[in-house]
C-alpha cells in the first residue's frame, strides 16, 4: 500500500515573522499604488515558489501552488469570466474566511484560460508534479447570485461546467497529470447529486489522460458517500473531520474508486497523533480498490497560521511513515 502525500489546495501566504510578511506588505503597497502590477506579481511568484518548496520539504509528494494569487475560491474564477461580476463579502461555509460573491449577469465565457499560466509557473519552480485545483461548477453556482443570462440554477451549473471543462482541457494539455475539482457545496445539498453527476461528466470528457480528483469538504460526506462513489471522476477525496462515522461506513460499504483521505484537520491547530489517525487508516485502507491512495489535509491549509500549516504537513509525513512502516 502506498499513501501519496498531497495538499488539498491553499497554503498560508504569510507567517508571523517579519521576513514571512513580504506578500502582505507588497499587497498593501500595490493597493496604495506605491508599486506597480509587475512588481506585485513578482512577489506573488516568489511566494508561490517559496510555499511549493515548503510543502515539498515538509514531505508533500503532490503539492499545489498554494493558491497564492487567489483572492478567494469564487471570485478568482469570476474575475476571469465574461458575464460575471464580483460582489460583496460572504462567509465561506462555517469558516471565518470571507469570499466575494460572483454575480452572474449574462452568458458566461472565459476571457482566457484562468489557471494554465499559474500551473505552468508552478511547474517550473517545483521539483515535483503540481496538482492544479479548480472550484467546481456546482459550488461556483451555489456561491453565485443569478441576476441574468440563465433561466435557472441548473442552467447556471452547466454554464460553469462548460468553462470548467475548457480549463480542464487546457490544464491537461499543459501537462497536468492530476487535476482536482472542489465541490464542497454538494454536501449541503444532497438532493443535487444527479445534477453534480451530469456537470462532472462534462469535465470528465475534457480531461484527456489526466486523472480527475473530486474533493469535498466543509461538511459530513457520510450521507452522500454512496452517490459520490458513482460520480464520473477517477479519485474521490473526502474531508474526514466532520464525521466520526465515515471510516466505519467506508469499511462497511467499501470503495470502488481510489480515495483521498483528508484526515489531517486543516481547520484546527492541534497536531494529529497515531491515536487519532491510525484507526481511520485501519478501517479504510483495506477497502481501497487500488494499491494506493492520497493522504492529505481535510481542506486547504490557509485557515491555519503558517507555522502550523507546515507542522501539519510534517506530522502527516511522520504518521504515514510510521503507519506503513509498521504495516509493511
Amino acid at each position: 500500500m502506498k499513501l501519496i502525500l498531497t495538499n488539498a489546495g491553499s497554503y498560508p501566504r504569510i507567517g508571523d515573522a517579519p521576513e514571512l510578511q513580504r506578500h502582505r506588505r507588497a499587497y498593501a503597497q500595490w493597493e496604495r499604488k506605491e508599486i506597480g502590477e509587475a512588481a506585485f506579481r513578482k512577489v506573488e511568484d516568489e511566494v508561490t515558489a517559496e510555499v511549493i518548496r515548503e510543502q515539498i520539504v515538509a514531505g508533500v509528494e503532490l503539492p499545489t501552488d498554494g493558491q497564492i494569487r487567489w483572492y478567494d475560491p469564487y471570485s478568482h474564477f469570476a474575475r476571469g469570466l465574461e458575464g460575471v461580476e464580483v460582489n460583496g463579502l460572504l462567509r465561506l461555509f462555517d469558516t471565518n474566511f470571507y469570499f466575494r460573491q460572483p454575480v452572474v449577469t449574462g452568458p458566461i465565457r472565459r476571457r482566457r484560460s484562468i489557471l494554465v499560466s499559474e500551473y505552468e509557473f508552478a511547474r517550473t519552480v517545483s521539483s515535483r508534479p503540481v496538482k492544479p485545483v479548480l472550484t467546481g461548477p456546482y459550488s461556483l453556482a451555489r456561491g453565485s447570485i443569478l441576476e441574468g443570462g440563465y433561466q435557472s440554477f441548473t442552467a447556471l451549473v452547466f454554464a460553469y461546467a462548460e468553462v470548467a471543462s475548457e480549463e480542464v482541457t487546457d490544464l491537461a494539455a499543459a501537462g497536468a497529470s492530476v487535476i482536482q475539482v472542489d465541490e464542497p457545496a454538494i454536501l449541503g445539498h444532497p438532493e443535487d447529486a444527479a445534477l453534480l453527476h451530469e456537470a462532472l461528466a462534462l469535465l470528465s470528457r475534457a480531461k484527456g489522460s489526466a486523472s480527475l480528483v473530486l474533493h469535498v469538504s466543509f461538511g459530513d460526506a457520510a450521507p452522500l458517500y454512496a452517490d459520490l462513489q458513482g460520480l464520473p471522476v477517477d479519485v474521490l477525496s473526502l474531508d474526514f473531520t466532520y464525521s466520526s462515522k465515515l471510516p466505519r461506513l467506508i469499511a462497511e460499504v467499501g470503495a470502488f474508486k481510489p480515495l483521498g483521505l483528508g484526515v489531517i484537520d486543516g481547520r484546527n491547530t492541534r497536531l494529529e497523533t497515531p491515536e487519532t489517525v491510525f484507526p481511520v487508516l485501519d478501517e479504510v485502507l483495506p477497502k481501497l480498490p487500488t494499491e494506493w491512495g492520497y493522504l492529505g489535509p481535510s481542506c486547504g491549509l490557509e485557515f491555519l497560521p503558517r507555522e502550523r500549516a507546515r507542522a501539519k504537513l510534517e506530522t502527516m509525513r511522520r504518521l504515514r511513515d510510521a503507519y506503513l512502516g509498521g504495516h509493511a
Binding site: 498560508p12 501566504r13 504569510i14 507567517g15 508571523d16 502582505r24 499587497y27 498593501a28 493597493e31 483572492y71 478567494d72 460583496g88 463579502l89 462567509r91 461555509f93 462555517d94 471565518n96 474566511f97 470571507y98 469570499f99 466575494r100 459530513d220 484546527n268 491547530t269 492541534r270 490557509e302 485557515f303 491555519l304 497560521p305 503558517r306 507555522e307 502550523r308
Partner: protein
C-alpha cells in the same frame, strides 16, 4: 410571559423596546490611539481616558436618539471573541490567519483549561450604567461562538471546549447580575453555520443561564431562520435577536408552521450597507413582525453591531429606526383602543 419577567426585574419598557446589538464605531481619535497603544507609543491610562470619553459620547447619543435599552458600545473591545480570549486563562494569541483580501487577524488558541480570571466587563458595565437612568445591557460572547472562533489544542472535542467555556462565562454573567445588570445579552453569531452542533450549543447556554435572575437575549446572525429554526427555540433565553432587514422570509408562514415561543428582536437595519434606511422602509420591516407576533413580545434593533459604519451613518440609521418605531407604536396603540 417575558413582560412579566421584565416587570419582576423592575423594568418598565415601552411597547416595541428599541436597542442595539452591541458595538458602535470607534471615533477616529480612539481608533488611532488603539494603534499607538499597540505600538507602545502611549500609556494605558491615555487609551482608557479616550475609551471612556467615547463610551460617554455613545451613551449621550443613545439617550438623545431615544433608545430604550442602552449598550456601552464596546469601545474598549476589538474582536468580540479575541477580547475575552486575551483576558481568560487557557488561551494564547495565535498566529496570523487571513480573513479576506489582505486582512489578517490573530485567531486565539485554547492551549489549557479555560478559567475566568475575575470580572472582565463588569467595571465597564457599572461605569456605563452610572451615566444613565436607562437600563444598560450586560454583553458577553457566548461559549459556542468563543469555541468556534478559536483553535482548540486542549479539549478532546468541540463540545468539551464549548461546555468548559460555558462554565467560566457563567461566572462573568453572575458577576454582571451581581453588579446590578438586569438584561444580559449572550451573543452566538456562529451558531447558524453548523446546525448539527446546535444541541450542545443549547446545552452550553443552559450552563450559562439556568437559574439566574436576568432577562436574557441571544443575538444570532444571518441565515438562522433558514438553518436552525425551530430548533433554536431550545435556547434557554427570553429573547432571540434575528436579522430580517435583508431577508425576504415569510415570517408568517414560518411561524404558522412552528410558532415562535419567545420574545423576538427584529434586526431591521442593514449594518453592512452605507445607505441610511428610510423611515417608511423600517416601519414596513417592523410591521412584518407586528403582523405575526403580539407587539408586547417584539423588540426592534439593527441586524448586527454597528461598528463597521461611520459614526454619522450609525447615528442616522438609529434615528430612522426610533422614528419608525414611534409611528408604529402609535398605530398599534390606536388600533388597540
Amino acid at each position: 410571559m417575558s413582560r412579566e419577567k421584565l416587570r419582576a426585574l423592575g423594568l418598565t419598557l415601552p411597547l416595541l423596546p428599541t436597542s442595539t446589538v452591541g458595538s458602535f464605531p470607534k471615533p477616529p481619535e480612539l481608533a488611532e490611539a488603539r494603534t499607538r497603544f499597540a505600538r507602545n507609543q502611549i500609556a494605558l491610562s491615555e487609551l482608557e481616558a479616550l475609551e471612556k470619553k467615547a463610551t460617554e459620547f455613545w451613551v449621550r447619543t443613545q439617550e438623545e436618539i431615544g433608545l430604550d435599552v442602552l449598550v456601552d458600545g464596546e469601545q474598549y473591545r476589538g474582536d468580540m471573541v479575541a477580547y475575552f480570549a486575551e483576558l481568560m486563562e487557557g488561551f494564547q494569541v495565535g498566529g496570523l490567519v487571513r480573513s479576506y483580501g489582505n486582512r489578517y487577524y490573530h485567531k486565539p488558541v485554547i492551549t489549557g483549561a479555560v478559567k475566568w480570571p475575575g470580572p472582565l466587563t463588569v467595571s465597564w458595565w457599572k461605569w456605563t450604567q452610572g451615566l444613565t437612568t436607562k437600563p444598560v445591557k450586560g454583553m458577553v460572547t457566548g461559549p459556542y461562538t468563543t469555541m468556534d472562533w478559536s483553535f482548540n489544542d486542549y479539549y478532546p472535542t468541540r463540545r468539551a471546549a464549548c461546555l468548559a467555556l460555558a462554565r467560566e462565562i457563567r461566572k462573568e454573567v453572575e458577576a454582571l447580575i451581581g453588579a446590578g445588570a438586569k438584561i444580559v445579552q449572550i451573543d452566538e453569531p456562529a451558531i447558524s453555520v453548523r446546525p448539527e452542533e446546535l444541541p450542545f450549543a443549547i446545552e452550553a447556554m443552559h450552563v450559562v443561564t439556568d437559574g439566574l435572575p436576568a432577562y436574557f437575549i441571544t443575538h444570532a446572525c444571518y441565515g438562522a431562520f433558514e438553518t436552525i429554526y425551530p430548533d433554536m427555540l431550545g435556547f434557554p433565553v427570553d429573547n432571540l435577536d434575528l436579522a430580517i432587514s435583508n431577508s425576504a422570509l415569510d415570517l408568517l408562514r414560518i411561524f404558522e408552521k412552528d410558532p415562535f415561543t419567545k420574545d423576538l428582536s427584529l434586526g431591521v437595519l442593514d449594518v453592512h450597507s452605507h445607505t441610511i434606511e428610510q423611515v417608511g422602509q423600517v416601519k414596513e420591516r417592523v410591521m412584518r413582525g407586528v403582523r405575526v407576533l403580539p407587539p408586547d413580545r417584539l423588540w426592534v434593533d439593527p441586524d448586527c453591531g454597528l461598528k463597521t459604519r461611520t459614526v454619522e451613518e450609525a447615528i442616522e440609521k438609529m434615528q430612522a429606526m426610533v422614528v419608525a418605531v414611534r409611528d408604529v407604536r402609535q398605530a398599534v396603540g390606536n388600533a388597540g383602543r
